[in-house]
């Protein structure tokens, strides 16, 4: 009797495992998205606690410190306004020149601010969970970044939450270029990425590459996911090997993903338009 119940339980587990693992990727992603609702009360409590602690900190902050910060922000705002005015002229000129050359106009893709609410529990992936989903217009493969640089791409989308695959994760390979030399390459996880998640590898540089430490790596715009010229990181070491046709460089990422609390998602509908050179 007991043996039969063991066999029955094992049969259920194995059958369910096989069914779930053989689901088509979009169906599995939709199912995952729907199942995130199980955590809704817990995430709600977490948000409430964070708000409460934030309010407590706000009350504890001295007025003088707040005024100093306000003053600094007002000055930064003024500087940025001046820069925007200067760039507006260049923007108009750019639109006119693009029209003369029959180039597609670059769209102004809306950005949405998302809160980081969790990280991948597994030690073998680099991913975060954000509090925006398909209800907010998110779709897979939309780029995610912060002011410091590229964070990754939207990987799986649920109704109210999404998973973002971080740069350095096997699911997030980025086509990049070295700003100083214009050389293109592909950014992937390196042997040290598990140890230090800020270090990744830049592959496919030519054997006689002129790229060197301190050079800046930005997105190339090739491929259909990331728009061009988003900062990604800085080269820290170039591994020159004359016996091979390609050179690999170690790149320190501009963004420390372990300290991310908020990120921007580019909610664009037309990926090709987003990558217009």
């Amino acid at each position: 009797m007991r043996r039969r119940s063991y066999q029955f339980a094992a049969g259920i587990v194995l059958a369910l495992s096989l069914i779930l693992l053989s689901l088509p990727a979009p169906t599995a992603a939709r199912l995952k998205g729907a199942l995130t609702h199980s955590f809704a009360p817990l995430f709600g409590m977490q948000h409430g606690l964070q708000k409460l602690s934030g309010t407590a900190v706000d009350h504890a902050l001295p007025r003088a410190a707040l005024l100093r910060e306000l003053d600094a922000l007002a000055r930064t705002n003024q500087l940025l306004r001046i820069q925007v005015d200067q760039l507006r002229g260049a923007g108009v000129e750019n639109i006119r020149l693009r029209a003369q050359l029959n180039l597609k106009q670059r769209p102004n893709s809306p950005l949405k601010l998302a809160r980081v609410i969790g990280r991948d529990p597994a030690n073998w992936w680099r991913a975060i969970t954000i509090d925006l989903g398909s209800n907010d217009g998110l779709q897979p493969d939309q780029p995610v970044w912060v002011a410091a640089g590229l964070v990754g791409r939207v990987y799986q989308v649920g109704p109210n939450q999404s998973q973002v695959s971080l740069v350095g994760d096997p699911a997030c390979r980025v086509s990049v270029k070295v700003r100083e030399t214009g050389e293109n390459g592909i950014l992937t996880a390196g042997p040290f990425t598990t140890f230090d998640p800020k270090i990744v590898h830049l592959h496919h540089l030519s054997a006689d590459t002129e790229s060197a430490p301190e050079h800046t790596v930005v997105t190339s715009g090739l491929g259909e996911i990331f728009p061009p010229d988003i900062p990604v990181g800085t080269i820290v070491e170039v591994d020159r090997n004359l016996s091979t046709l390609q050179t690999t460089a170690r790149v320190k990422l501009a963004v420390d993903a372990s300290k991310l609390f908020e990120v921007w998602v580019m909610v664009a509908t037309d990926k090709r338009a987003m990558n217009t050179p």
Binding site: L35, Q46, I117, W125, A127
Partner: protein, 186 residues
């Protein structure tokens, strides 16, 4: 009796849900030790020793689904490994001195070491490319020992939750020698 079973199963499943949530949101172990500790193998050991097959099966199914929901892992990938680890304990339940903390620690450590190995095996078999290198050995060690320590903490906590709403079973009556040795309830 049925209510007791339901409550105990509910407490274990609730602990799994909260454990998976904390694994995703509480990142101190990862920041300090470079690896996150998985609470599910520890819960599986507790369930295999203190509860029944139905709860173990439910825990393996729901725990694995919840965990993969917050992860880039394929849906339910840890289901079979968790169930397998639990069944190994269930089959040999009479051999373990379950009241001894060292036995609990060893079982928790072994399960926490076995489950990620099986999950990684499945991932690679299915054609995924998880991030693995020499540092992964350190992460595996941290996960295993952390899981063992978590097992030690879970037993009194979940026993307390179970005992909070029920009377303790009356001690006495005849028990087989191996039951007395292993701490099996009559």
């Amino acid at each position: 009796m049925s209510t007791l079973f339901n409550f105990h199963a509910l407490v274990i499943l609730l602990a799994a849900l909260v454990g998976v949530f904390l694994e995703s949101t509480f990142t101190l172990p990862r920041e300090l030790l470079g690896a996150q500790i998985n609470p599910l193998p520890a819960l599986v050991i507790y369930t295999a020793l203190q509860s029944n097959l139905t709860t173990l099966t439910l825990l393996a199914i729901l725990g694995a689904i919840w965990q993969s929901t917050l992860s880039a892992d394929p849906l339910g990938i840890a289901m079979a490994p968790l169930f397998f680890a639990g069944m190994l304990v269930v089959w040999n339940r009479s051999h373990f001195v379950r009241q001894q903390w060292f036995a609990r620690f060893v079982l928790g450590t072994a399960a926490s070491a076995l489950v990620p190995m099986l999950v990684l095996f499945l991932l690679i078999t299915l054609g995924h490319e998880p991030l693995l290198n020499w540092f992964s050995l350190w992460q595996w060690l941290v996960t295993a020992v952390g899981g063992g320590l978590l097992t030690l903490a879970l037993f009194p906590l979940l026993d307390w939750a179970k005992g909070a709403v029920t009377y303790r079973a009356v001690q006495g009556g005849y028990r087989f020698a191996h039951e007395r040795a292993s701490g099996d309830e009559p």
